[in-house]
């Protein structure tokens, strides 16, 4: 049985060389446009000063140099709060926000998707529409509320709002709805508690969604949606600090490009790691029914 299955599976995935080429070609054509700004930032970061300000501007670098990166390390060495402190802040905020957001979202999504109770539909609709709340105007009242809670200029201001973002619960609920009820019933008959059903059945079954959510969360936390609520230097995150460095004047245009490249590296790394894990786990075990 397993042998037959393996054979069918193999036949399905192995396609002609020509088919592969067409696919890669299509992806490359669109991919060029997707990658353009990233490549542009790298090019800018490798340009010496006179090339950056050349008119008309050129896309490709003529005389690549690491001067901008060197200047960046110099500038980092010159900050009065050691760079390790910024990195530590980033790590603390990133880990707590991401883990917390995923746990809270998974917990909230499970009963909404798989339990029947009064108010379920109302809360589900409320979540969908609360996605609309991220309008720019809420920043001002948000600041006032945080100030009242005494959270301005603490880690809480960075962490707590991202824990409660509606995107996670929205995404996970819609994925969990698709888990067959029979799977959960089997678990219940075997004596699983609701908590066990959530972590042992529901969460592993929506693993691709969890990893996707991981990418979204780290991405938005790293890019610092809430950095306006922090003014003390010791509590700022690494991207915020780098941004400050880069923002200080025209002479640092090259450094700014170097910073952009450095700041992008972390989300890209997280993306690659989590995407390759999606493939590993789901290609063989992601059977729903």
């Amino acid at each position: 049985m397993t042998k037959v299955r393996k054979k069918i599976y193999k036949r399905r995935i192995s396609r002609s060389f020509g088919g592969d080429m067409v696919m890669v070609l299509v992806l490359t054509v669109f991919g060029l446009f997707m990658a353009m700004p990233f490549v542009y930032a790298i090019m800018q970061s490798l340009k010496p000063m006179e090339e950056i300000f050349a008119f008309p501007p050129r896309f490709f670098v003529m005389h690549p140099t690491l001067e901008n990166y060197y200047m960046l390390t110099q500038a980092i060495g010159g900050t009065w709060v050691p760079v390790g402190r910024y990195a530590l802040n980033s790590i603390i905020v990133l880990i707590i926000s991401t883990a917390g957001h995923i746990i809270i979202a998974a917990m909230g999504a499970f009963p909404l998707a798989k339990m029947r109770f009064k108010g379920n539909r109302a809360i589900s609709n409320f979540i969908t529409y609360s996605l609309l709340f991220t309008a720019p105007v809420t920043a001002f009242p948000q600041y006032i509320i945080m100030a009242k809670c005494g959270m301005i200029n603490t880690y809480y201001a960075l962490i707590l709002p991202s824990l409660a973002a509606p995107i996670g619960i929205f995404l996970l609920k819609n994925f969990m709805v698709q888990i067959p009820d029979s799977l959960l019933e089997a678990a219940r008959i075997d004596g699983a508690t609701n908590f066990q059903m959530l972590w042992k059945i529901a969460v592993p079954n929506v693993r691709p969604a969890i990893l996707t959510l991981l990418i979204f969360t780290t991405q938005s936390v790293w890019n610092g949606a809430n950095t306006g609520f922090i003014y003390s230097e010791q509590l700022k995150t690494l991207p915020t600090m780098l941004n400050q460095l880069a923002a200080s004047g025209m002479a640092r245009a090259g450094v700014a490009a170097a910073v952009a490249v450095v700041v992008m590296l972390v989300p890209i790394a997280i993306f690659i790691v989590s995407q390759s894990r999606i493939i590993e786990t789901m290609a063989y075990s992601g059977i729903k029914e």
Binding site: I8, R15, D20, M23, V24, F33, M34, P37, F38, Y40, F53, F55, P57, R58, M107, G108, F110, P111, L112, M115, F117, G119, I123, T128, S130, L131, L132, F133, T134, A135, P136, V137, F140, P141, Q142, I145, P161, L163, F170, F175, V177, Q178, D181, L211, T212, F216, N223, N243, M250, A253, A256, A257, V259, A260, V263, I268, F271, I272, G286, I287
Partner: protein, 299 residues
């Protein structure tokens, strides 16, 4: 006797459901709903931000009326945003589904290509875009008004123009024709990822069945992939609608945040609420129409 027992189990279940959701509900209420309701109050008031705090005076619908009578930017920007979104949403969805299906195949370098297609999301948010924009600002000092648009908003077109990879006239013409397509590609990163996650949860057994039954690729796509993916398509439709309406490149959003930054809180709030209500009605209607058609195991 039996009924009483049953009811108590039901109510236990109800509370259990609630306890799981409460952490999120509390957080969301504090950080999103309350600020949002506060803006409703602001929109009905005359708000002054002073050194010692915020002073408010109730003025009724004055700010709302002002949007239609006293302000000549609100309505054109509002309709432009509406047009943008209605045009964009179907194209973004089709493109991202197309790319996601391709990226879901097994071939060498798929993680590389997935990363490439997610790059715009990483770039278009937060620090990086402000750095690229900041860079544009310093260029602007040298080249006059050319990049002044760039300072407000970044799109593919402006990046291409600015990078000088091709002649400006060619770029202008190219983008006159297909301008929006490239911005659309750029906005599909999140949708592609959500679709890939959805495709991953389709049981491989269904494809085997389709194959054994002799379905060709076209039929397999519509009968298996599309059908099994339909709940995720609903998710993506909602996400795309909301995302396009709230996109910072939308003229009305730019106008609202500009007004808000200049501390004209009451007028920004009034505009945001009118926009919110319209978007709410549109999203609700679309959701009501399409979610019934989505596949679900419980049917």
């Amino acid at each position: 006797m039996r009924q009483v027992k049953r009811r108590s189990y039901e109510s236990k279940k109800k509370w259990l459901g609630f306890t799981f959701i409460i952490p999120w509900l509390v957080g969301c209420t504090t950080f999103f709903v309350r600020p949002f309701l506060m803006t409703l109050y602001y929109s009905l008031c005359d708000v002054k931000v002073l050194d010692e705090g915020v002073s408010m005076k109730f003025v009724g619908l004055k700010n709302y009326i002002h949007a239609f009578t006293g302000d000549n930017e609100f309505l054109p920007k509002f309709t432009e945003s509406m047009n943008n979104t209605l045009f964009q949403v179907p194209l973004i969805l089709m493109f991202s589904l197309f790319i996601a299906v391709i990226l879901n195949q097994k071939f060498r370098g798929r993680v590389f290509f997935r990363t490439v297609y997610f790059l715009p999301v990483i770039i278009a948010s937060g620090v990086v875009i402000s750095l690229i924009r900041g860079d544009a600002f310093s260029q602007q000092l040298l080249s006059g008004e050319r990049s002044s648009m760039m300072f407000q908003a970044v799109s593919m077109e402006q990046l291409l123009l600015k990078s000088g990879i091709i002649n400006e006239k060619v770029v202008n013409y190219m983008f006159y024709v297909i301008n929006n397509i490239f911005d659309l590609l750029w906005k599909s990163g999140v949708q592609i990822l959500i679709f890939i996650a959805g495709l991953k949860t389709i049981p491989p057994a269904l494809y085997e069945v389709a194959k054994i039954e002799g379905a060709n690729a076209w039929e397999t796509f519509w009968m298996v992939t599309f059908k099994m993916l339909s709940p995720i398509i609903v998710v993506n439709v909602v996400y795309t609608i909301i995302d396009s309406f709230n996109d910072y490149l939308n003229p009305i959003i730019m106008y609202i945040s500009q007004t808000s930054r200049s501390l004209n809180i009451q007028f920004a709030s009034a505009m945001a609420w009118m926009y919110f209500l319209v978007v709410l009605i549109i999203t609700g209607t679309v959701l009501a129409v399409i979610s019934k058609r989505a596949f679900s195991y419980t049917d």
